[in-house]
């Protein structure tokens, strides 16, 4: 830095070389009175505030501080005055061009012989770049945490926009994910512009002529519209009118690209006056576009995974139920036979001379009862076969067990299996998907039955027990079958591991993943005697204390 003014001329009485040192230090140095009024300062101070020494002398230093930072600064000054401790704080100071920048303030008090503070020597160091980087990092960290915690995509992208808007002054933002199969823009997210802005853009095809976002996505490159009003590329596009209606002039669109190079969407930054992004803004945009890509990619892979899980659970369910075909036919045919028999009897009783009205009425009643029985079976089956998405509700596991046993009873009887239920009375309800939990129970039941298929020297006993320990509800299915043959029971839960000639080996693996998604566990233990026991536990729903009386 060239010093044009001889320091000696400025501050009489101070050694010129000290003034030279003060002027050469890359920081703002000032001397204030005990009340904070500026008495003297180095050259950097005058340059930063854009004033002369005469003008600044006597200013209260608070005049230069960001209004939000004044209360904190006053409190710290007061404390330093009382205790005589060094003043240390971080505040924003107003630069000559009207921009506030962050400074770290070091103030040392000078005392007279009586110990009273007569002056403060203050060093102000510009930490604005560091502060910016810190706040950026904090913002990034928060967004990535949201991604890691599996927050919904709309929440993450709205937060991302809001954060960029607070970081880059005078800008507004939007994220537009792309439906890659349809090559159209999905529902966009722009918290400050609102759905009135994003709504009409939903479903717009991804083509260059539609809007800067269309061009950015198509060409996989950043597209800067300095002024959308006059930009020749979109003069004919309806987007131009739409943007202008929202007062937007500068439109900067950046493609959001996945790791594999696919365009997932676009990140748009707008200004209400024409302009191009500065280098800092470009860097910011690049950084947050990257975070948007992580968020979208992660969410999409979660969705794909969820769908796969649900498909697999359905396949496993249908496979399991396939083993029950005979049993199901039995359950349906039984009441159907009743209907046919009773209706035939009824007709005959009516046709008799004289007609047996009372008998006919009774058989008609039985016909209805059997019809209802058949329809209950169908309802149960429909629930188990349906491919609806997970619905969570409060479930009585005892009831769920009884239904599954009713459906499989005939199959179990055919296998010569005797079923014993030891159901805990007043079992607390659990929360979960009824169909999925019944699928697990059915699976354990049929596995137990299969395990006893070759047993001839002892009864084929199957015992289902439910219990509660106050926190979890437990269910166990014990059989007197062939057991695990000394092997590791955990292996049974590996996908595609099977001991059956006709099994796919997905039943137990899917069952375990269902239990885990219910916050529960599924495991197996060998019995003391022959056979094995499969257990699951699932957190019970906390119940309000029952009123007595």
């Amino acid at each position: 830095m060239a010093l044009h003014v001889a320091p000696a001329e400025r501050v009489p009485g101070i050694r010129p070389d000290y003034l030279l040192i003060a002027d050469c230090i890359p920081g703002l140095i000032g001397i204030t009175g005990p009340d904070g009024a500026v008495e003297s300062c180095n050259r950097a101070v005058l340059e930063y505030y854009g004033v002369t020494l005469e003008a600044i002398q006597g200013w209260a230093s608070s005049k230069l501080v960001h209004p939000d930072d004044i209360p904190g600064m006053i409190a710290k000054q007061k404390r330093s005055l009382e205790t005589g401790e060094r003043l240390l704080s971080e505040i924003r100071l107003l630069r000559a061009d009207g921009v506030y920048r962050w400074f770290q303030i070091h103030g040392e008090p000078l005392r007279n012989s009586r110990g009273e503070i007569v002056q403060w020597y203050v060093l102000q160091t510009d930490i604005d770049d560091r502060k910016c980087a810190e706040s950026l990092l904090a913002g990034e960290k928060r967004l990535l945490e949201m991604v890691a915690l599996g927050r919904p995509l709309h929440e993450i992208l709205n937060s991302l926009c809001a954060f960029v808007e607070t970081t880059v002054p005078e800008c507004q933002c939007a994220v537009f994910p792309i439906d890659r199969r349809e090559q159209r823009f999905d529902k966009g997210f722009a918290p400050s512009l609102g759905t009135a802005y994003t709504g009409p853009l939903e479903g717009v095809p991804v083509v260059p002529a539609s809007a800067p976002c269309g061009a950015a996505a198509t060409h996989q490159t950043q597209v800067i519209a300095f002024d959308i009003e006059s930009d020749p590329r979109w003069l004919a596009s309806s987007y131009r009118e739409h943007a202008l209606a929202f007062g937007l002039r500068a439109v900067w669109s950046t493609p959001i690209v996945s790791r594999s190079g696919e365009v997932l969407g676009t990140f748009a930054v707008y200004q209400r006056h024409p302009g191009s992004p500065t280098q800092i803004q470009r860097d910011l945009i690049a950084q947050f576009t990257h975070i948007a890509s992580i968020a979208i990619e992660r969410t999409q892979s979660e969705e794909t995974l969820d769908k796969l899980r649900s498909d697999l659970a359905h396949v496993a369910r249908v496979t399991t139920l396939g083993a029950l075909t005979a049993s199901i036919a039995h359950e349906v045919n039984q009441p159907l036979a009743g209907i046919v028999t009773n209706a035939s009897t009824c007709l005959r009783m009516l046709a008799a001379d004289p007609p047996n009205i009372e008998g006919a009425r009774e058989t008609a009643r039985r016909t209805i009862r059997d019809g209802e029985r058949a329809s209950e079976v169908i309802t149960r089956l429909r629930a188990l076969f349906s491919k609806k998405t997970t619905t969570t509700g409060s479930i009585d596991l005892n009831e769920a067990v009884r239904e599954v046993v009713a459906l499989s009873m005939s199959e179990l009887q055919r296998q010569g299996v005797t079923v014993r239920l030891e159901l805990f009375p007043d079992l607390p309800p659990v929360k979960g998907d009824r169909v999925q939990l019944q699928q697990v129970i059915l699976n354990l039941l049929l596995n137990a039955s299969d395990a006893m298929g070759t047993v001839v020297d002892r009864p084929r006993d199957l015992v289902i027990v439910t219990a509660s320990d106050g926190a979890d509800v437990h269910l166990s299915v014990s059989d007197s079958g062939i057991g695990f043959d000394g092997g590791n029971p955990e292996k049974l839960f590996d996908a595609f591991y099977t001991t059956k000639s006709d099994g796919m080996g997905i039943g137990l693996s899917v069952s375990r993943s269902i239990m885990e998604r219910h916050g529960g566990r599924l495991w197996a233990t060998p019995n003391d005697g022959p056979g094995a026991t499969f257990w699951f536990s699932i957190p019970q729903v906390l119940q309000a204390r029952r009123r007595t009386g």
């Binding site: 005979a326 036919a329 039995h330 359950e331 045919n333 039984q334 009441p335 159907l336 036979a337 009743g338 209907i339 046919v340 028999t341 009773n342 035939s344 009897t345 005959r348 009783m349 008998g359 058989t363 039985r366 009862r369 059997d370 029985r373 005939s410 009887q413 055919r414 005797t418």
Partner: protein, 123 residues
């Protein structure tokens, strides 16, 4: 039709034991029903029974078990098996063992009457 002809029904399903005897009585038969094979064997109706309507799958002694037991006792009754399982091998097996018919539920009254009549004539 002779009123004295006794048809016995053995089925563990209570609704069957309600419905089937009523229809058989409408046909003009005398009917006794039993919830298990053991109950039937102990009833003293075995000798009198001209046709046995028998369920295949039952807990304890099954239909085919009873069929074998009657053969072993040299009391081979004409049997009409009924089953709600569309399991043709089970039907084939009992037919091979000498059953008159094997009806798969639901069956029509005509099929039932035909099978029972055939059983009574077979004696």
């Amino acid at each position: 039709m002779t009123a004295a002809v006794l048809v016995s029904v053995v089925d563990d399903d209570e609704s069957v034991r309600e419905a089937l005897p009523d229809l058989l009585r409408e046909f003009g038969f005398a009917v006794q029903s039993f919830a298990s094979a053991e109950e039937f064997l102990a009833s003293g109706c075995v000798d009198e029974t001209r046709c046995l309507v028998l369920d295949i799958v039952m807990p304890g002694m099954s239909g085919p078990d009873l069929q074998r037991e009657l053969t072993r006792r040299s009391q081979p009754l004409p049997i009409v098996f009924i089953t709600a399982n569309e399991d043709s091998t089970a039907c084939t097996r009992v037919m091979d063992a000498g059953a008159v018919s094997c009806l798969i539920k639901p069956f029509s009254e005509a099929a039932l009457l035909h099978a029972v009549t055939k059983a009574i004539q077979a004696r």
